[in-house]
Symmetry: C2
Subunit: 145 residues, 2 copies
């Protein structure tokens, strides 16, 4: 089983500073605020801003996509945060068994975590992530520092 | 102020039955299950499946987009659910003041609610919705029937 979680919604953006200013102008508050990455706390999933070029690179090309979605490249991704690298591996095994396509095999991430990315039948991207800096709360959602 | 909420993440899909089967195979459970719309309960935001053609139609064309995002049509949308039609109107006023672009002006929806859609600086689509059939819980998130 893959935990039923939308931990993080990531929006690919062309100018982080501009987008951060926009969401702040809505009255929203950041929990993480770096040059190339910002995360807002919301009711529901966390909302991240990330450079669109890096998002596209992370998610790989469109090779797994076909049919009516082929002309619609990904500009967002969703994440399921889990409690350990082993849970990442298991979730990927289960997702592939359910028919997911692998976009990025489980691997250590440069930022200290362990992640994998799979695609649903239409190519929607799901990252399964263990982030040791973001422990999971009682609701299963990551607790920002 | 616009409530800081990701109430619902909607994925545009080419075959609802296929996608529903996929997410069920992950072990996820639906709270709404209709021919053309399915909503899964998750830790975090609700996850909806909706036909990609209807999603594209609802969100309008790409006229508001420019720059590096122009080649990246929307295939997802996010929703902020609020408690009344008046709160929809107010959220839209505040979002436009923050620099949002209007994709769909506030209006009664065929399913009995009242909604509007705005775009962030990169064209990411946010629906602001009052759905009388989905009362808001203590956490501000919609309670499915």
């Amino acid at each position: 089983m893959v935990p039923a979680r939308v931990s993080l919604v990531t929006l690919g953006v062309s100018d982080i500073a501009r987008s951060r200013a926009f969401y702040r102008a809505l009255g929203w508050e950041t929990g993480v605020d770096m040059d190339g990455f910002a995360v807002f706390r919301t009711g529901g999933s966390l909302l991240a801003l990330y450079p669109i070029g890096e998002l596209t690179q992370d998610l790989g090309d469109e090779a797994t996509e076909d049919g009516v979605m082929a002309g619609l490249p990904r500009r967002t991704s969703l994440a399921i945060n889990v409690g350990s690298p082993e849970e990442v591996d298991q979730a990927v095994v289960d997702a592939l068994a359910a028919g997911a396509a692998m976009l990025a095999a489980p691997a250590a991430a440069p930022w200290g975590g362990y992640t994998a990315i799979f695609a649903d039948p239409d190519g929607h991207a799901w990252e399964v992530a263990h982030n040791p800096g973001w422990p999971l709360g009682a609701d299963g959602l990551p607790q920002l520092p």
